[in-house]
Structures are given as structure tokens and as C-alpha cells.
């Protein structure tokens, strides 16, 4: 198009600088808003060109307050046209609406909004269906990995405490363990170790392993109570809660790192604590249901499970637990719920016998009269743990 028909476009000529993209030099030019495109006239050498509006690209999108415009055209690769001043940019906005900030923003945002909606929707779907990716991965872990992971957790948790190995106590523990493990019906053997540790707690760790403290044995009134606690821990093990907890913690930390662009550090921990808080509670219910099933199968009364927690709670209210120990205590990780109590009470009665003979119970209580140093293996990283 050599010349624009009179009266067709905007007849104002604007000052511009034209660069051909071959050298860094720029030539003075004038530009007019023609009917179908920009009409560019370079001063010297005298060259005319028309860039169709549809083929224009702009460095930064055009805005009402834009003070200049930097344009390219797909018709002339490499070349660019810089037009200073607000009037040209404003006038161009009406002729090339695809260069405006609004159009640009929408074009840019569309795929991301789609992706965000998809992520939120699939998150909601996973949540609603109750499917847990961490649980699915945990189920796929080879047994030998779970064992080693468990060993790792135990060594880092019990660092500095001695293992209780009194032979008669071990015998009693083994008979209780056998009776419960047989009743799980999974055919998986459980490993239970007692540590000479004054705090009252028991943990299920990966690989069907359970750590129990001397403090818990001391606080328990009967073998039935210990059996209840152990059955509950086996319930965690059967449901793969410890494995799932670790995988979830790692996954969540990775997700937060990603979201923060790899520079969060401490922030990951806030998420971890809150997420673990939420998930353990659902896990407790599952573990309780498993425990009740195991106890029934083993013909041990379920009352011990309920009573133990009830008593622990009333003791705490009286202030028996030393302050420093409270934060690692069984109740802090595991608030006693009316739900558990109701669950125990709803159980249809069945014939039961004591979990251990009085002599065996006495032997179990004395398991820490002989102790050995646990394998030295401090790991600096604190392992996520599945508390009772």
C-alpha cells in the first residue's frame, strides 16, 4: 500500500524510531495509523512499509497510561518500531485491541486458570473419594525397606535410652505379642521393643515394629491395658500409618518447597505439624477399630484400652506428669476422645481371659531390670513419628 486513501485512517503522523534488527542503529521515521495497518515512512533512506494491525506484536502490552509503544511485525522479522509519547499508544489500542493489557492478561491467564481449576478439582475429588496417594505409595513399599525405615526411626527416637532385655520379661512380652499378632489375621509378625524411658508412650514405627516405654508399663494397672495399647499400635501397623505418615510428610515438604519456589525452609514445618495433626486423628479411629477386632479375636477384654486412657487423663488433671515430659506424653499426641470410649462401650460382650497370668504380668513389669545399650546410631534429622 503506497499511500492511504484520504480520510480513511488517522491522518496524524507520529514521530518514531525504526530499527531493522540487523544493526543497533535506529532511523528516524514517521508513522500513521492507516486503515488496515501502520504506515511507516523512514526518513533516510526513504523507505515506506505497512505493518498490518493483525500482525503487530508489542514488547509490553498497551495501556491507557502507556508512555510509548515498542512494536514488531511478523511481516518483517527482527525489525522494531519505537514510538514515544502517550497519544500514539492510546490511538493504537482501538485499532489493535489484541495488543492491549486486558487482552494480553486474558490470553496469558487462560491456560493457568484452567490448570488451577483442574488442580483444585482433582484435589477435591481425591479428598472426597478418600483415596490417599501417600497410603498407596506406602502399600507399594517392599518389606525390607519398611524394616530399615523403622530401624532408622527407632534409633533416632530412642537415642540415649537403654533397651530392656530381662529374660523373663521378654518371655512375657513374647507370649502377649504372639497372642495379639495371631489375632490380627494378617500373618505378619510384629516386633515389640521396650526402652527404659520414663515418659509414658508407645509408638508404631514402619515395618510392623512397636516401641513401648518403661513409663507406660509402670503406669498400666493390668496386662489388659497394655494389651489394649499394643493392639491399638498393631492397628496402626496394619493400616500402614507410620509409613504413610513419613511419605506424607516428605511429600508435603516437597510441595511447599515447590510452591515457595524452593526457598521456604522453616515454612514447610508449619504445614507439616498441622497436616500431621489432622491426619493422625483419622488414623486413631482406624487403629481403634483394628484394635477392637484384634482384642476380640484374641479373646482379651476391650475394657483395658478405654480404661487406660481414662486414667491417664485424670492423672494429668491432678498434675502427676512432670512438666517437661508432658509434650512427649501419650495424651499430647493423642487426646482421649469420647468416640473411643463410646466405641469400647458399644462392643458386644464376649468371653475373655486375662491378657497375661499374674506371674507373667509381674515379669513384664520388671522387663527393665536388665538393660543393654541400644545400637549407637544417632541421626541428626528428626524423624516424623507416628505417635500412639
Amino acid at each position: 500500500m503506497a499511500s492511504s486513501p484520504a480520510g480513511s485512517g488517522d491522518p496524524i503522523e507520529y514521530y518514531a524510531r525504526f530499527s531493522d534488527g540487523k544493526s543497533a542503529g535506529a532511523r528516524d521515521a514517521t508513522v500513521m495509523l492507516g486503515l488496515s495497518g501502520l504506515e511507516i515512512v523512514q526518513a533516510s533512506p526513504h523507505i515506506r512499509a505497512v505493518w498490518a494491525y493483525a500482525n503487530l506484536r508489542s514488547g509490553e502490552p498497551l495501556r491507557e497510561r502507556a508512555v510509548d509503544a515498542l512494536l514488531r511485525s511478523t511481516e518483517q522479522a527482527g525489525a522494531s518500531l519505537f514510538v514515544p509519547g502517550q497519544p500514539f499508544a492510546a490511538a493504537l489500542m482501538t485499532r489493535a485491541p489484541h495488543l492491549t493489557a486486558r487482552a494480553e492478561r486474558w490470553r496469558h491467564a487462560r491456560p493457568w486458570i484452567g490448570l488451577a481449576v483442574a488442580i483444585v478439582a482433582s484435589g477435591a475429588a481425591i479428598y472426597a473419594s478418600g483415596w490417599s496417594p501417600a497410603r498407596a505409595i506406602a502399600t507399594g513399599l517392599p518389606d525390607s525397606w519398611r524394616q530399615r525405615l523403622g530401624q532408622q526411626v527407632i534409633t533416632s527416637m530412642t537415642e540415649g535410652y537403654k533397651k530392656c532385655v530381662d529374660p523373663r520379661g521378654l518371655d512375657a512380652l513374647r507370649s502377649l505379642n504372639d497372642r495379639l499378632a495371631d489375632a490380627t489375621g494378617t500373618g505378619r509378625p510384629f516386633t515389640i521393643v521396650v526402652y527404659d524411658w520414663p515418659l509414658t508412650n508407645a509408638f508404631a514405627v514402619p515395618g510392623d515394629q512397636i516401641v513401648m516405654t518403661q513409663g507406660l508399663l509402670a503406669k498400666a494397672d493390668s496386662a489388659d491395658e497394655v494389651a489394649g495399647v499394643l493392639a491399638h499400635e498393631m492397628g496402626h501397623g496394619i493400616e500402614l500409618h507410620p509409613e504413610t505418615g513419613i511419605i506424607r510428610a516428605v511429600g508435603l515438604a516437597a510441595a511447599v518447597e515447590l510452591m515457595m519456589g524452593g526457598s521456604s525452609g522453616g515454612l514447610a514445618n508449619i504445614g507439616l505439624v498441622l497436616a500431621q495433626l489432622g491426619s493422625t486423628r483419622a488414623a486413631e479411629r482406624e487403629a481403634d477399630l483394628q484394635a477392637l477386632r484384634v482384642l476380640r479375636q484374641a479373646q482379651i477384654s476391650p475394657a483395658g484400652l478405654g480404661n487406660f486412657f481414662k486414667r491417664m487423663l485424670s492423672q494429668e488433671k491432678k498434675g502427676d506428669t512432670p512438666g517437661q515430659l508432658k509434650q512427649f506424653d501419650i495424651l499430647s499426641t493423642h487426646p482421649p476422645t469420647e468416640e473411643r470410649q463410646a466405641l469400647v462401650e458399644r462392643q458386644e460382650p464376649y468371653a475373655s481371659t486375662a491378657a497375661l497370668s499374674p506371674a507373667a504380668w509381674k515379669a513384664l513389669k520388671g522387663i527393665c531390670t536388665t538393660t543393654v545399650d541400644a545400637a549407637p546410631a544417632p541421626s541428626p534429622a528428626e524423624q516424623p513419628r507416628q505417635a500412639l
Binding site: I12, S44, R65
Partner: protein
């Protein structure tokens, strides 16, 4: 070569004037153009200046011209999309910020253009994630699972990984710079970084690792042949003395990078030597040493006085929170003080680097000043801290308003729901606010550095031709992973 002169007639409709087909009229009132171009303009004047800049195109004036934009809105959108896409968007967010900062930076009134894309950065990140991060993580996991309780194996592995990373950091710097330069253009002419990232990475590595190995070896030898006291002293004194390598090292690395920089087909050259850097380094070095030694003394005193160490040794009980907070406060002040003390050195280093960087016939000049730089660093920190504090407050308020606190007695499902909601209500404001603070902080830093930079001397701009080398295809992966790509 000078730009061809305009004819008289063409000059008449040059800046500040516009022509209707029926005659000459001024365009509708444009205050900004008027300020830049002048309300009336003689032909001679118009010949020489455009946008207040030498129009003869033989000099380059660097300006930073953001208008009213402070990247606050962009930071907000970026943060929000980052949350909603689980972080995938961050590569695109970074690109959007760069595009803005580049377009604010002007040479002779015409903006720089950033032509990189989020997709390039993302693919670069994925590759490094698969080739470096995943294997490293998997190796660590394998060692702790296969050799349970072998702390020495874990330590050895960590040492190996840190060494590898230190080796890769310089490499990453170089690659990031190469990517950014190749995606930077002015008037369609690209920048480039030639040379080898491996060589730069190696220099970056040995100038740190070399002295460290030498001093450690000397200390071990002394400890073995004379006594552990002598060895320990050699180690401590040696490492403090070894800090004197830093200005020399910085200068050497700057030379490698600058000499390999191109704009179009033209070289950028560096003529700096490290000598002039040492006078100011003395103050920074001595000042930091005094502050750190004092802080060590105070910390030892505090720990001894509280008895926390004995308690920990015997019972593995962590010290009470307030003791930890006091200690953290001491070291936070050390961090701030050292940043302030070293700021004047850093400013002088920036000026030194600029002064010794030449392009064609011109040399750069920076007027960055120590106190201003110190304030910039400090205020950017405060900005980030303030943003996160605000976010936590806002999140807590949201939790309070929505009542999303897990209550005992409710069903488990409801509890999980509220706990998840809690995480979101805190995390989302934190991510969004840090994105806002980061974008604004980058804006402030860039504004300060660019508006204090100038290029003195004559440059034959017309003679600069496009650079024909192929640009790298992918983004800066490594640097993103190490979080050292800056912008």
C-alpha cells in the same frame, strides 16, 4: 559513522509536532512528551535530542523509567497463581517480573526487551530436577535406609553432595547469565555470553576449595607433628586470613564473565585488577571479624549462664524457647551488622567493576554508595519480614473469623477438614505476600542499580551488528534450583 542527517522538511514533523494532511498542528496535549521533548524545538535542537537524550546516537544514556508501576499488582497475581498451580507457575512468574524490569530499563529512551519464556525456565528446572536433585535425594534416602544408623556414611554423603553443589554453583551462575543475556535485546540486537561455564565453575570452585584444603592439610600436619593446639590455631587463623582471597577472586570471576560478554557482535572488556579493592576490604574484614568474635563470646557466655547445654547433655531436653530466642536475636543482629559493615565494600566493588567495564569506546560508571546500599539491603529484608508477618496475622484472623479451629468432640472427618483449611488459610497469604514483597524488593534493587549506572564515552551504535551465535535453547535450571538467579 554518524547517523545520516535529517532533511529540514522531515525534521519539521519530528518530535513534539504532528501533521495533519491539511497542515501542521500540535498533537493533543501530552505533558510527558512535552517534558521530554520540550514544548518548542529548534531544528538544531531536534537534531540532537530525542527524549532528552543525545539523538546523534553516539552516546548511550541509561535510565530507569517505571512510570507508576511498582510491581505490587504483578507480585500479587504471581503469588496467587503460584498457590493455585502448586508452584508450577513460579517459572512464569519470574519471567513476568523480568519482562517488566527489563522494559523499565532504557538506553537512549528505548526499552530493553526480555524475550525469555516461562516454558524455557520450567523445562530447564525439570531437567535439573531429574538429573541433579532427584539422584541426590534418592542417594541420601538409599544410604539412610540401607545403612541404618551409620551416621558417618550420612556425613560423608552430605560432604560429597555439598562439594558437588559448590562445584556446580559457579557453573549455574554462568549458565543463568548466558541465558539472561541471550534473552535480552535492545533495538532487536541480542546480548550473549560466550566462553565456558565449566571453566568458570572450576575457577569458582578451586578459589574456595583450594585454600580450604591447603589450610586443613597444614593444620592437620601441625596437629600431628607439633600438637593439637597449634593445629587448631593454624586452622582458625588460616581461615580468617584466607578471607583475603575474596576480592582477588571476585575480580577474577568478574573478568571471566565480562570478557565473555557480547552485545551484538561487539565485545565487552574488563580491565580491573584487584589491588584497589583491598583498601575498603580491610574495614569490612576487620569490622566483621570483630562483630563475629564478639557474638561468639556473648553466645558462649549466654549458654554457659543458662546451663542449657548441661541439661541437654543429661536429659536431651531442649532449652526453653526464650533462651533460643535470645541466641537467635544475637545472631540476627550479627547478620544485620555484617551486612551493613560490608555494604560499603560491596558498593565499592560494584563501582570498581563498572569503572573497569568497557564497551567500544565507552566505560561504565556506577555511583552506588555504601550507606544507600546498606539501607536498600536492610529495608528489603524488613519488607520481606513485614510481608510474612502481615500474612501470618491475616491468616490467623481468617482462621479466627471462619472459626476453623479443630474442636474436640467433633467427628474425625470434620477435624481433618478444618486442619486442612487451617494450613491453607495460613499458607496462601504467606505465599502471596512473599511474592509481592519479592517483586517489590527486586524492583527497588534494580531501580537503584540501574539509575546509578551510566556509560561514559562515544559508542558507534550504528556499527553494532546482530550477533550470529546460536542462543541457548533452555532456561537456567541449575541457578533456579540453587536459588541464586537473583531476578
Amino acid at each position: 559513522m554518524l547517523r545520516p542527517c535529517l532533511t529540514r522538511a522531515q525534521n519539521a514533523n519530528a518530535p513534539g509536532t504532528a501533521r495533519r494532511t491539511s497542515g501542521y498542528v500540535r498533537p493533543k496535549h501530552d505533558e510527558r512528551a512535552e517534558r521530554l521533548l520540550g514544548p518548542t524545538m529548534s531544528i538544531d535542537h531536534a537534531e540532537r535530542t530525542i527524549s532528552g537524550i543525545e539523538r546523534s546516537d553516539s552516546t548511550i544514556k541509561i535510565t530507569f523509567d517505571p512510570g507508576t508501576d511498582r510491581l505490587i499488582g504483578l507480585g500479587f497475581t504471581n503469588g496467587l497463581l503460584q498457590v493455585l498451580t502448586l508452584g508450577i507457575y513460579s517459572a512464569w512468574a519470574k519471567t513476568e517480573v523480568r519482562r517488566k524490569l527489563w522494559s523499565f530499563t532504557r538506553l537512549n529512551g528505548e526499552p530493553l526487551e526480555y524475550t525469555g519464556t516461562g516454558r524455557e525456565l520450567f523445562i530447564g528446572f525439570l531437567i535439573v530436577f531429574a538429573l541433579v536433585l532427584m539422584p541426590t535425594f534418592a542417594g541420601g534416602a538409599a544410604i539412610s535406609i540401607l545403612l541404618p544408623g551409620r551416621a558417618d556414611a550420612v556425613t560423608a554423603y552430605q560432604f560429597a553432595v555439598y562439594t558437588l553443589f559448590l562445584f556446580l554453583v559457579g557453573n549455574a551462575f554462568y549458565r543463568a547469565q548466558r541465558y539472561r543475556l541471550s534473552r535480552t535485546q535492545w533495538r532487536g540486537i541480542r546480548g550473549a555470553l560466550v566462553g565456558s561455564a565449566g571453566q568458570y565453575g572450576w575457577t569458582y570452585f578451586w578459589t574456595l576449595a583450594g585454600p580450604a584444603i591447603f589450610i586443613t592439610a597444614a593444620a592437620l600436619l601441625a596437629a600431628w607433628s607439633i600438637g593439637p593446639d597449634v593445629g587448631g590455631t593454624i586452622l582458625l587463623v588460616g581461615f580468617i586470613a584466607a578471607l583475603w582471597i575474596l576480592p582477588w577472586r571476585a575480580n577474577k570471576l568478574q573478568r571471566m564473565m565480562t570478557d565473555a560478554t557480547r552485545f551484538g557482535d561487539r565485545r565487552v572488556t574488563y580491565t580491573g585488577t584487584s589491588g584497589p579493592l583491598y583498601a575498603r576490604y580491610l574495614y569490612a574484614w576487620a569490622g566483621s571479624a570483630v562483630v563475629i568474635l564478639a557474638a561468639i563470646a556473648v553466645s558462649v557466655q549466654m549458654i554457659a549462664a543458662s546451663g542449657a547445654f548441661q541439661v541437654w547433655m543429661q536429659t536431651k531436653q531442649l532449652p526453653p524457647l526464650e533462651d533460643g530466642a535470645k541466641l537467635a536475636a544475637v545472631w540476627l543482629s550479627v547478620l544485620v551488622l555484617c551486612a551493613m559493615i560490608t555494604a560499603s565494600y560491596r558498593a565499592s566493588q560494584i563501582r570498581h567493576f563498572a569503572r573497569n567495564t568497557h564497551f567500544e569506546g565507552a566505560s561504565f560508571r556506577s555511583s552506588v554508595a555504601g550507606p544507600r546500599l546498606a539501607w536498600l539491603i536492610l529495608s528489603n529484608w524488613l519488607l520481606r519480614i513485614g510481608a510474612i508477618a502481615t500474612a501470618i496475622a491475616a491468616g490467623s484472623l481468617l482462621i479466627y473469623i471462619t472459626g476453623a479451629i479443630p474442636k474436640p468432640g467433633t467427628t474425625d472427618a470434620a477435624r481433618i477438614g478444618t486442619a486442612t483449611l487451617d494450613v491453607l488459610l495460613i499458607l496462601v497469604p504467606i505465599v502471596v505476600m512473599s511474592a509481592v514483597a519479592t517483586a517489590f524488593a527486586q524492583f527497588r534493587s534494580t531501580r537503584y542499580l540501574v539509575s546509578n549506572l551510566s556509560l561514559d564515552g562515544v559508542v558507534d551504535i550504528d556499527a553494532i551488528m546482530q550477533n550470529q551465535d546460536a542462543a541457548p535453547k533452555r532456561g537456567e535450571g541449575l541457578a533456579q534450583v540453587f536459588d541464586i538467579d537473583g531476578f
